[in-house]
């Protein structure tokens, strides 16, 4: 009896393996077959009459959906303008942080405008156009006892969120601050409010939004280390749309488009402490 059930198990395993091979063999053969045609070139988009843009649906104030069901935010403002300048309609594909690359590669979207930070790793899988926004590490502290220089952190406790660029920065640079690490944004901000540490470091754009609701605190250090850039991304090798987008961003910079975008979409969240130039980029840079 036992022997028979073992035999049955082996039989099932072999069957399963066969099923996998059968399903994937034809796929592997066609892997490289269709690299040449570009379904997302500028002319293809114009011919189609609409551009598919991948955006966030849950990240206010960059890409989110307001109570009337309309997609709004800093990225969306730019997306609508790009569609208008191409002379086509905009169709939005909602993405999460981890499927932005796949969405481009499987032609589900022509362009990604989803707070996409340019990193060397990502550059190998997609093509980034000129950036339209910058973020960097900032430090928030009490208004009554502000931290404005990194040297003030020596011997102090500093809160960071695990896995962020802020944690990376303070691990790599010897600042003399001892780190208190937390798992979520909610935890880390509560810890700061409870006085567990003198200051907290995170992406400056989050901090701007947070101090707006917590006026006792201030972003004393607005920028630490190098800025990261947020840029539109296209499928790797899509020269046509990449060049067009680069020209478009230069043109929009020339007419202060991003300042308008900032004032309409981001300013209400960030408050008056932040200037547009802390976030947006201009042609000079």
């Amino acid at each position: 009896m036992k022997k028979q059930s073992l035999k049955k198990l082996i039989q099932t395993l072999v069957l399963a393996l066969g099923a996998f091979l059968l399903a994937f063999a034809p796929l592997a053969g066609t892997l490289t077959a269709h690299a040449a045609d570009n379904q997302s070139s500028v002319s293809a988009i114009k011919k189609r009459g609409y551009i598919k843009i991948a955006v966030f649906g849950d990240l206010p104030p960059y890409g989110w959906v307001n109570k009337d069901g309309k997609r709004v935010g800093y990225d969306l403002y730019l997306a609508r303008r790009i569609a208008k300048d191409l002379g086509v309609k905009a169709k939005f594909v909602q993405v999460n942080a981890n499927n932005r690359v796949d969405t481009l590669n499987s032609n589900k979207a022509d362009l990604v405008l989803a707070n996409f930070t340019v990193t060397p790793e990502r550059k190998q899988t997609v093509d980034f156009a000129k950036p339209y926004m910058k973020v960097s590490v900032g430090v928030v502290s009490k208004k009554s006892d502000p931290i404005t220089k990194v040297s003030q952190l020596k011997g102090q406790k500093l809160i960071v969120n695990k896995g962020t660029t802020a944690e990376q920065y303070f691990t790599q640079h010897q600042t003399g601050a001892s780190l208190l690490k937390f798992d979520s944004k909610t935890q880390q901000f509560n810890a700061l409010k409870n006085g567990r540490a003198k200051a907290l470091a995170d992406d400056n754009s989050y901090l701007y939004a947070w101090v707006k609701n917590n006026p006792k605190y201030t972003v004393g250090i607005k920028q630490l280390g190098k800025s990261s850039y947020i840029a539109p991304a296209v499928k790797k090798g899509n020269k046509s749309l990449l060049n067009w987008t680069n020209k478009e961003i230069t043109k929009l910079n020339g007419e202060n488009f991003f300042e308008k975008d900032y004032n309409q979409e981001l300013k209400p969240y960030f408050g008056s402490e932040v200037k547009a130039s802390d976030i947006i980029l201009t042609n000079q840079k």
Partner: protein
């Protein structure tokens, strides 16, 4: 109550949007079940035939869809197939129907096969003794009796499909969970407790869709016990 999270549900079009998301969930599940059950019934009948090659192929099909997790099926249908082959780039909701329908067909074919072979042997033999051909045997003897046997398992499968639609947000389909998350994030800075109300409402929605089905399954079970 001025700042209670329940307000999140009734601001602007939020409630209507959630209902719209529920509709997406329901129509994708219903259409997948319709196609999947029809295809699965056919495959299930074929699986009771003696032809070894046919049985092997259908068995492979079943094992593939039973072993591969649904989320992987969805990724295959949505991201990988269009990239590797020249399959027309259909919207996520239709690719989801394709993936779900094939999955339902695989699972249902096993239910049908099981029900068909558990119809008492004397029924089949009596049918043959009456001179019924194979078609008549299935049409008048086996299928009607198998139908009652497979009912509870089928309803169970249906509730599973409805719940599994929550994976659709992974392939950019705006189902009820996806819209719920949009609403939560859009209101997070104003209503900290909004998340409980939104997920609470989604819970009620799923319950309202699934509970009648499971009641029905229970009734069927009781009937069979008689």
């Amino acid at each position: 109550m001025a700042h209670s999270g329940i307000n999140v549900l009734f601001e602007g079009h939020n409630f209507v949007r959630l209902l719209g998301g529920l509709w997406t969930t329901v129509w994708i599940a219903a259409l997948s079940l319709l196609i999947g059950l029809a295809l699965g019934a056919l495959l299930g009948i074929l699986r009771t035939f003696k032809n070894r090659l046919l049985r092997l192929i259908l068995r492979l099909y079943l094992e593939f869809f039973r072993i591969v997790p649904t989320v992987v099926l969805l990724f295959l249908a949505y991201y990988i197939l269009p990239r590797m082959m020249h399959v027309a780039n259909l919207p996520g909701s239709l690719m989801a129907v394709v993936a779900f329908a094939l999955w339902v067909a695989a699972e249902f074919s096993d239910i049908v096969r099981g029900a068909l072979i558990s119809v008492p042997k004397h029924q089949r033999e009596s049918g043959m003794a009456l001179g019924l051909n194979r078609h008549q045997l299935f049409r008048y003897v086996l299928l009607p009796q198998a139908f009652r046997l497979e009912m509870p398992a089928t309803i169970n499968l249906a509730t599973r499909v409805i719940k599994t639609t929550s994976l659709l947000m992974m392939i950019s389909v705006m189902d009820v969970i996806n819209i719920g998350q949009q609403i939560i994030e859009a209101n997070n800075h104003l209503y900290r407790t909004g998340v409980f109300w939104v997920y609470g409402l989604i819970f009620v929605f799923y319950f309202l869709v699934d509970y009648p089905l499971s009641r029905w399954a229970k009734k069927m079970d009781a009937k069979q016990a008689d």
